[in-house]
């Protein structure tokens, strides 16, 4: 029983993290039909910026609670700088090319940014442990968890709710949905598709960086974290149905719980649990859990 509870809590915490790293990816795919491998680099950039800025903040002796705000600001800055550079400087020349070519374009960006990160921050891992432990712990049964995990969970819920609200209740969101549904038609109806793309990519980049920033206090930020993360985010997004927000949420929960269960009951399966889930889901539902029906164009 205690173990089952632990599986649930561990799973949900991991799910929150998965959702945060995957949500920007699914948003960008949904709108722009780009499976953005560079999302992994944005995650890394966010993590590095947060670690170095928050580290600086703490070293100066400013109020430690402020470090959370610093981390978020770091992520927003990364999104605001890197997003427009990649979208305006590169991607907009590529629209209309094959989806796979676009994947490779972002793969090239990923390779470039991997080395750029190394040039800026070096290869030594960074860490800022303080924000992780500072909030105290909560206990369930015989297990203790840092409250920071609640922050992660809360952030995931908040991001999901806000995005859902923006998409369904606001004018901009509705325009976005129109673009998702039919790009050419919405362009014809007077929606500035270029602007929608620009904003979406910037927001997506920000979310990627935020994922990194929120993860920074729990890990040691080191070269290569982007590559590890992007595959997980891919898997989550594909399982959920590309471009689907509720899909990403459900997939994150599924993968999170399955992984926690694997670790608790069959540790040897942990290595490929996520790919097994992906294979099974795609075999049963070829386009993921949530996917819009597409009209076949003749």
């Amino acid at each position: 029983m205690a173990q089952l509870l632990a599986v649930l809590i561990d799973g949900l915490i991991y799910s929150s993290w998965l959702f945060i790293i995957a949500v920007g990816l699914t948003l960008i795919y949904g709108v722009m039909k780009i499976l953005n491998i560079a999302h992994g680099s944005l995650y890394a950039l966010g993590a590095y910026s947060a670690a170095s800025l928050a580290g600086y903040w703490l070293k100066q002796g400013y109020p430690p609670m402020g470090s959370y705000a610093v981390m978020v600001v770091a992520a927003i800055l990364v999104g605001l700088i890197a997003g427009p550079i990649i979208e305006r400087g590169l991607l907009r020349f590529m629209y209309g090319k094959d989806e796979i070519v676009l994947v490779l374009v972002t793969y090239a960006v990923f390779l470039i940014l991997e080395d750029a990160v190394k040039l800026i921050w070096g290869v030594d891992p960074y860490f800022i442990a303080q924000p992780y432990g500072m909030l105290g712990n909560f206990s369930i049964g015989d297990l203790t968890y840092p409250n920071y995990n609640l922050v992660l969970f809360g952030a995931a819920v908040l991001i999901g709710v806000v995005l859902a609200w923006v998409l369904t209740k606001t004018r901009q969101g509705k325009m976005l949905l129109a673009v998702i549904h039919d790009r050419e038609m919405s362009g014809a109806m007077g929606i500035n598709v270029g602007k929608v793309y620009f904003i979406t990519f910037t927001v997506g980049a920000m979310l990627g960086a935020l994922g990194g920033a929120l993860t920074a206090p729990m890990i040691s930020v080191q070269p290569g974290i982007g590559a590890e993360t992007i595959v997980l985010a891919f898997a989550v997004v594909v399982i959920g149905g590309l471009g689907s927000l509720p899909g990403a949420a459900l997939a994150a929960i599924l993968v999170g719980i399955v992984r926690a269960a694997a670790v608790h009951y069959r540790p040897e399966l942990d290595l490929f649990s996520i790919y097994l889930v992906m294979a099974v889901v795609l075999i049963v539902r070829p386009k993921g859990l949530f996917s819009a029906q597409e009209a076949r164009k003749i």
Binding site: V7, V123, P125, N137, T144, M218, I219, Q222, V263
Partner: protein, 428 residues
Amino acid sequence: MRVANFLKSFAFLLAAIPVAVPTLATADEKPIRIGLVTFLSGPAAGPFGVPAKVAAEAIVDSLNAGKVPAPYATKGFGGRPLELVVIDEAGGGTKQVSEFRNLVERQDVDFVIGYIGSGDCLAVAPVADELKKITILFDCGTPRVFEDASYKYVFRTRPHATMDAVAGALYLLESRPGMKNYGGINQNYAYGQDSWADFTAVMETLKPEVTVTTSQMPKFGAGQYGPEISTLLQSNSEVIHSSLWGGDLEAFMLQAKPRDLFARSQLILVAGEPYLHRLPGNIPDGTIIGARGPSGVYAPKSPLNDWLRTIYKERGETYPNYPAYSVAQAFLGLKTAYEKAKAGGKTETDDIIKAFEFETFDSPSGKVMMKLGKGHQAVTGTAYGQTREVNGVVTVVNVKYYPVERVQPPEGMKSVDWIKAGMKPGKW
């Protein structure tokens, strides 16, 4: 600040283009070119690859200037200056074989010193023999290199990983004679699996009544250890064995500490030494730490050790960790062999090999003997100790040294068989 970093990065980028470290070549002596292969990218770069590169560059400069303490005072190798060609070890065994061929045949290096990853060592060794190029594996741990095959041109100047498990278990049982059980968390790849398998085998031999509670095998680079830590907590293990390293180790420590895992369980980190300076505040006192050989914090005081610490500190800001000691062993071992061959009149490849086999030489971590693998595999004793944090610096206390015969199988015996047969000290 960021701008300064940027400028620095660009300078770095420019400096990276001509990779060979320029050295002052005397007119009559052509420099000896040494290919150095070490991780410059990926997770192993920070803790292993770059410290090894920094140490190698410092050592080469110091050797060329003739400033190394006795018995290494001659400049370079036998008077000839050294020149480095640095290559990134990233990309896996297949790519490293290509790079090795390029290094030897296109760059025309005289010797290759390199390889931290065991897979890369295994892949490169037969090619070194094919190309007849003396190659020194300086840091990788797998005993398979010389236990499963034998090579003429390949040497390893550092002991293999069996001693991690053997000495670790000896130390653990000496400090906790009444222990009942233990669990483990190791990365799911060759090194992690081998470490755990060796450790459990040694424990089984030394104290069969001790039981295993759980074995966690997270993916390499997983980063998130929530479920693993819960499982370890619920297993109520007295001791937790781990061969985690690099960012994975740091992330695990960060996540486990607030959850009071270390209040329940004693931790033994067989590869924990390179991180001590990074972990103040996050490593509980009393953690058992290994360094595979008396390197890093376990290196005994000697003029050579002081020399390495000084030249490393000048460039690296910290004191050298064990990968830096490993690379020093490689350079000094090769220098010894080269100069011995030169004293015999000839420095052809075969002469150097003959001089190198079964040689004993001094290093910053003490005497190194090339006594296994038909004289191609180094052995040393090793050390284990426990951490204690003093004024924000992690130090080691209760240090115990274990002599070679207690921690390494004798020649001709595979590690696994030796452990299963009760680890009888061989004749050395």
